[in-house]
């Protein structure tokens, strides 16, 4: 099966993505690896594909948007990096591949994903739920059971589809929704690209809900998974192999959640320790801290989320300011008192 595998990220996550792609290269050297980037190359940096662990970069302006800047401005960094997954996955179904797989840039493979490819022999869509079993402790119920009720049952740090049939139909539907409604707005029932997929098992056939604890293991489900090193030196999640880990929130917050739910599972901390080192090694000094090309207006004024929401809601502004990053729009916001003078 010809597989295209992609991740979506900005330069701030290039280090994590490199670790993911290295693990993909190791386990699946024959897969075509695409970096879907919503950003611009930082000044002074060169992105040399021959030195990167992926085969191709696709930029935001290659996704077929008529006015990509206007669309992009309406999203914050999380919204836009999840939104581009839709248009790209739809494009990918039209290329010369049998399957397309998405993995978040902060995931990493520890064993091959071959069983997914096998599942795609008979299924068109594979999703991984956040949680496989009910929780028992109150805190865990709040963190791990209630959270998916508003954020989405399935974690869209992973999805795999066939490029034909229901897979293709899903890709078109998802792309269309994400172009218009990839918003972080739980009060309106929206949580970026993820909440949408609660519809998938109903809207589409040939959907496989993967309940193997070896996939998409993270702090939100590790309390139900026993992570060990076996006698062969391999890492296991319960009775099977650990396939990939979702290293969500690299930093103090992630550490707190990991400690809360991994408890005394020492291998979990060893995995994190290793991952932290790998990310450090994969970090380019040329990428400024917290860099994102679309985090500020052309003149350097930081863009607030309120500016994005205003532009998203007001069609008159969209019609008047074709490029919302421009200094014209900054001047207007300033005149309106929406940017401090």
């Amino acid at each position: 099966m010809r597989v295209l595998c992609f991740s979506s990220f900005t330069f701030s996550y290039l280090n994590r993505a490199r670790v993911l792609y290295q693990s993909l290269r190791r386990h699946h050297p024959d897969w075509h690896l695409v970096a879907l980037m919503t950003d611009r190359i930082p000044e002074g940096m060169t992105l040399d594909l021959s030195q990167e662990p992926f085969d191709e970069v696709v930029w935001q302006d290659e996704l077929g948007f008529e006015n990509v800047n206007a669309w992009l401005f309406q999203h914050d960094i999380v919204e836009v990096c999840t939104a581009v997954k839709g248009p790209f996955i739809e494009m990918a179904t039209k290329r010369d591949f049998d399957a397309v797989m998405y993995l978040d840039p902060d995931t990493c493979l520890f064993n091959p994903l071959t069983p997914i490819v096998e599942l795609l022999e008979t299924n068109d869509i594979v999703l991984t739920p956040h949680l496989l079993n009910p929780e028992e402790e109150r805190t865990a119920i709040i963190d791990n059971e209630i959270c998916p009720l508003w954020a989405g049952i399935y974690n869209l740090g992973f999805v795999a589809i066939r490029t034909t049939g229901e897979g293709a139909r899903f890709a078109s539907w998802w792309a269309q929704r994400l172009r218009d409604f990839c918003h972080d707005d739980p009060a309106k029932g929206l949580f970026v690209d993820q909440k949408w997929c609660d519809h998938v098992p109903v809207f589409f056939d040939k959907v496989h809900i993967l309940k193997d604890p070896g996939y998409n293991t993270a702090s939100w489900n590790v309390s139900q998974r026993n992570i060990t090193i076996d006698d062969n030196g391999n890492v296991r999640a319960n009775d099977g192999l650990l396939r990939f880990w979702h290293f969500t929130k690299l930093g103090p917050l992630g550490d707190v959640m990991t400690r809360r739910y991994a408890k005394d599972q020492i291998v979990v901390y060893e995995l994190w320790r290793w991952y932290r080192e790998q990310v450090a090694q994969a970090t380019s000094a040329a990428v400024p801290d917290r860099y994102w090309a679309f985090g500020q207006f052309e003149d350097g004024t930081p863009i607030e989320r309120a500016h994005r929401l205003l532009y998203r809601d007001r069609q008159d502004l969209q019609a008047h300011f074709k490029d919302p990053f421009s200094s014209d729009f900054v001047a207007w916001l300033r005149a309106e008192g929406r940017i401090a003078a």
């Binding site: 090193i229 076996d230 400690r259 408890k263 005394d264 020492i266 060893e270 995995l271 290793w274």
Partner: protein, 639 residues
């Protein structure tokens, strides 16, 4: 409570009186209580000021009180020292001991005043509540600088200690509580006080629930940093005059039947430990045969091969006598010159930790040695972590190339590889492998990293049954005595023992004992100082039998290559409890039937809670006693 603890209140004349009394054994005291040496306080002064308050003994085997009362009445017996009561109003101190026990009642009065609580300074609710839960012994033994400063430990904790993230007891981690309760930090409240007063009831934890392995991992540094740190504490290398070595070799080699050049990680004549005792025995056996014994050890020990290429300063022992510190190439030159023509020799490598393999190989070659033995006392020849522990936390078989276990391991990421270093020796010399147990040899052979000319098992000790005695009825009636033997080291499972003690401290079914060295403060454990020597190699076995220890918890987390302690426990009549990863400990249980192997710590806890361990240990109608027969070590193969 604060002023009465001042070290400065201990009078010189009282210290002198104690020393002159003969009741105080300074050497014994500092060995028994290692924190005393760290504190830098004169041991006798330490005893008067603090040791006595902690119920410590002034010398081995004697009750502290009577001898001291006669000799140093000012400090008197603990009964005469009113213990400060932080909760109740001070009451009249109890009457002094009967006059016949004291030569100077005036001095007793003085002592009473010295130690009387000063309520005016301590009347505060935070102090009082903290004092109820504070473990003074733990605090003063864990932080010898506080002990040295001679200040009230509770006051120290309240004023400074918690800001320095020191812990008030084994049950509470200041740092953990502050890290996990930002509201407490923001409120500026003493975290231990908050925990006792409110946090505990609110369901907050006083220390992390992540297990001792998490602590090890959190502190683990990359190997290069570990080595750099260890080397930064070293003094300059000592280089003795070559003539010193020359003279020692001239006389040491004269008339020798054979030459034995041996290697280990430290000076076995000065340090005490299992391998060191074996080496002393082995030296004697070689000497008895008329062999010349030249032993080399690094002046500064290191838990790794030293692959830096720096010239190592090696201590040389010629027939057990110190012959100075020298570079390997100088030793080779002097030894080469001193060797009588035709004297044949072998080498015996007990350990090359701290040595450099290239320098070792050159030295052996220049002495004309071509074959020898390599002992598998640990796994340093095949892995950078000599205990074969991944990240120093877990053993799951040999971490093979290309596996995740190896990828995750900090030790495998070093810029050197022990196996590669040792392969240089295996390529150049005929090396026979000697394993102290079949269990360790199995690990070596399974790893398949290095191939010796031949593999042998020579057990240091074999257990010979010496009949059985009926299990005493008394023993069945009292709490089950659970013992930990030896130094409280992590890889020997001390943290597992400690957790059991802390959890079951109030369980009337159990009684906990620590037999060995390195007393740990703040634990409700009966401590028995036991230290083996050539003259009393049997000390631990005898101590286990004398203390009537029912169960010995030997929760080694690494595959022990031998573990004399396991044999001593069995020979002393105890029932062993171990895990399946403990190498020869598990093998010894399987072989003798004198114990049980539990799959993991959860199973151990469950067995303790359910009382099944007691049932196991006491289901033995008879207790088999064993004699320990010592082997001839390297001589089993060399002669």
């Amino acid at each position: 409570m604060s002023d009465n603890l001042l070290l400065s209140r201990i009078l010189d004349e009282d210290v002198a009186a104690l020393k002159a009394s003969g009741a105080f054994d300074e050497e014994w005291y500092v060995n028994e209580y290692p924190d005393v040496r760290q504190s830098g306080i004169d041991p006798a002064r330490h005893y008067l000021w603090l040791g006595m308050r902690l119920g410590r003994k002034p010398s081995a085997g004697k009750g502290a009180t009577p001898a001291l009362l006669a000799a140093a009445p000012v400090v008197a017996a603990p009964a005469a020292v009113p213990q400060p009561d932080p909760v109740k109003e001070p009451t009249q101190p109890p009457a002094p001991p009967a006059p016949e026990e004291n030569r100077d009642v005036g001095l007793i009065e003085k002592a009473r005043k010295l130690f009387a609580p000063r309520r005016d300074k301590t009347r505060d609710s935070v102090y009082d509540l903290v004092a109820e839960h504070f473990d003074e012994e733990f605090y003063l033994t864990t932080y010898p600088d506080v002990a040295a400063a001679g200040i009230d430990p509770i006051r120290h904790y309240l004023d400074a200690g918690w800001h320095e993230q020191r812990d008030p007891s084994l049950l509470f981690s200041t740092r953990f509580y502050m890290d996990n309760n930002p509201d407490v930090v923001a409120a500026g409240v003493n975290p231990f006080f908050h925990f006792i007063a409110a946090g505990k009831a609110e369901g907050r934890h006083g220390k992390h629930q992540l297990g001792f392995r998490w602590d090890i991992l959190a502190k683990l540094k990359p190997v290069a940093d570990q080595i750099a740190e260890m080397k930064s504490h070293r003094g300059p290398a000592t280089i003795s005059p070559p003539a010193m070595l020359d003279a020692a070799l001239q006389s040491g080699l004269a008339g020798a039947r054979k030459l034995v050049v041996s290697f280990s990680h430290d000076d076995f004549t000065r340090h005490v430990g299992g391998v060191q005792l074996l080496l002393r025995r082995e030296l004697q056996l070689f000497r008895d045969l008329g062999d010349a014994h030249v032993h080399l050890y690094p002046e500064y020990p290191l838990p790794f091969i030293d692959a830096s290429g720096e010239a190592i300063s090696l201590g040389v022992l010629v027939n057990g006598k110190h012959a100075g510190f020298h570079r390997a190439r100088d030793i080779a030159a002097v030894l080469g010159r001193a060797l009588p023509a035709g004297l044949k020799g072998n080498f015996v490598i007990h350990s090359l930790l701290g040595h450099n393999v290239d320098q070792t190989a050159e030295l052996l070659a220049s002495c004309g040695l071509t074959e020898g033995l390599l002992w598998l006392h640990d796994y340093s020849p095949i892995y950078n972590n000599f205990k074969l522990l991944r990240n120093d936390v877990e053993y799951r078989g040999f971490p093979r190339e290309g596996t995740i276990a190896r990828q995750l391991c900090e030790f495998a990421r070093a810029d050197f590889c022990h196996a590669r270093e040792f392969s240089k020796l295996f390529d150049r010399f005929r090396i026979r492998l000697v394993s102290p147990s079949q269990a360790a040899l199995d690990v070596w052979q399974d790893a398949g990293v290095l191939r010796a000319a031949s593999d042998h098992v020579v057990e240091h000790v074999t257990l010979v049954p010496e009949g059985a005695s009926a299990a005493s009825a008394e023993a069945a009636a009292r709490p089950l005595r659970i013992g930990f033997l030896g130094y409280p080291a992590v890889h020997k499972g001390w943290p597992v023992f400690q957790e059991l003690v802390l959890r079951l401290r109030d369980d009337p079914r159990y009684e906990f004992h620590h037999l060995g060295k390195g007393r740990v403060g703040g634990l409700p454990v009966e401590y028995h100082e036991v230290s083996a020597s050539e003259t009393s190699p049997d000390a631990m076995r005898a101590a286990v039998a004398a203390a009537e220890i029912d169960v010995v918890l030997l929760w080694s987390i690494w595959p022990e290559t031998f573990c004399l302690t396991a044999y001593e426990a069995i020979a002393g009549g105890a029932f062993l409890v171990a895990n399946p990863d403990s190498g020869n400990v598990a093998a010894a249980i399987a072989k003798t039937g004198q114990g049980v192997i539990l799959p993991d710590e959860a199973a151990l806890n469950a067995a303790m809670e359910a009382g099944t361990l007691a049932a196991h240990a006491r289901s033995r109608r008879t207790v088999t006693r064993f004699r320990m027969d010592y082997s001839a070590l390297s001589l089993e193969l060399l002669d």
